[in-house]
Amino acid sequence: MLGFGDGWVLAAYLFCVGSTILCVVYGIINWNRGADKEPTQIQEEVAWAETEKKIEEEV
């Protein structure tokens, strides 16, 4: 099938395509899930990002 010499390589080819489809489907289903809505969460993010920026500047 598909001109391959053995089933293992065909399986690898299909594994690549299958894994990509899994990623796409998972991402689309969860596209809007997991956003930080709480102000405390956003504040935590900001505090972390500010320290990160300081480290980046030092480097």
Binding site: L2, G3, F4, G5, D6, W8, V9, A12, Y13, F15, C16, V17, G18, S19, T20, L22, C23, V24, Y26, G27, I28, N30, W31, N32, R33, G34, A35, D36, Q41, I42, E44, E45, V46, A47, W48, A49, E50, T51, E52, K53, I55, E56, E58, V59
Partner: protein
Amino acid sequence: MLLIILVTLVYLAATGFFAWLGFRQTHNAQDYLIGGRQIHPLVMALSYGATFISTSAIVGFGGAAGSLGMGLLWLTGLNIFVGIFIAFVFFGKRTRKIGHNLNAHTFPELLGLRYKSRFIQGFASIVIFLFMPIYASAVIKGGADFVQSYFGIPFEVSLLFFVSIVAIYVWMGGMKGVMYADAFQGLIMFAGMAILLVSVYAKLGGITSAHQSLTDLINDPAVREQTAKSAADGFLGWTAMPKFGSPIWWNLVSTIIMGVGIGVLAQPQLVVRFMTVKSNRELNRAVVSGGVFILMMTGVAFVTGALSNVLFFQADGKIAILAAGANDKIIPEFIRRFMPEWFGAVLLIALLAAAMSTLSSQFHAIGTSAGRDFFEKTLGRGKNSVLVTRGGILFGILLSTALAWMSRYLDASMAIIATGTALFFGLCAATFLPAYVGALYFRKLSATAAKAGMIAGFVTSTFWIFFIHEKESASLQISKLLTGKASLVLGTALEPLKMVDPIVIALPVSILVTIIAGLFVKSKLEPAHVETCFKGV
């Protein structure tokens, strides 16, 4: 030459414009976060891809596919399933949250703070500092090999040219946080690889016909003669897996597929990326882009690398590795010989971009390991840590350049770039993976168990690299100097072990030691600390 200069200038101008566009919109951390929330998902998507893929994947592993065949597609599958899906969904979200709860900014710091252990932070930082240059040298060699082939200049000159560009880029501070510039680089890479895929399949009459020509190639008497040596080692053609248990099978399956496919989970410079993501929503979205992007990068590189054999044979009567002269030259020579000149110029830029984003994250990890993790946190010296970090980066650049230069003394038929990359990935998996999984999922795992697993994984892995796995121990020469044998198992009943990659032995050892120590030594971490770590997870 004029074309390449023109393309480079257009590229630099566009990158500069996008960098300026991003900079104008993000003045402080608050803006950066808010801005990030409004960025179009496609921009987010492409910027992710550009930081994941480097010249090592395209030139190094693409070349490996040229000599070992399409069995490498198992690695692409693992890159997508493990490196994107498992990594983002099961590792990324927890890493991000725990990292933020602990205010961790590097991978050693995450482990050190989670287990409240300065030893763990120090140990992890030393491993990264000393061994990551091997991986960086593989990325540099990939870039230098391409420049050498494209311009037809000596390797030393192309290496110097490539490293100079990298050094200037890193010295200027890279393009960190500049999403539009990254996305632009990602777009070029995506377009470049898409053109490559379509043209290779078109040249060979379509997907099935191309694969069939490659399958039939091994039956040609001239090809049989040219592949006689590798056939004796288990090679059965480019569209079939090597003979089970043969030296080539072990190299493909244990080193290339498993080493990199699993090792990706414990890559310090990738773990850090999870912490810079703004929310789990961005990680969910990145799964889509990451999956598609990796398929288009490594998938296309491996398919092209393998199919190049048909085109090289039709043109020269030689298989790819013989026509190109070395494993790592297969992709560069293929582009130079069979693709239009303008495409070579575009791909050169795409590869430079890919190498830049990866190298700057590697040197960043090497520098912070020396300065922030080891000097500041482990030794407890606050002063001069910036200087140590910068010194660490300089050391990293010099050492990886020296290693890339020394690689010319290695056997050119070896997949040097892929082997160097796999060595580092495997070492990271054996040393860090059990402790990292424990940090994210096992609240009761003690610091002692994490330490024991890390030490066991590291010691087993390095012992195997230096004294058992012949592919590496023979090149490193230490075993030969100390014992007179390239591998300790040569001439003994255990000789087949010389083919087995370190990850196959060291990762299970590390997991086992972590579990046993975890069962016997109770965690001394205060419940309040563990609660802080897992808040909101």
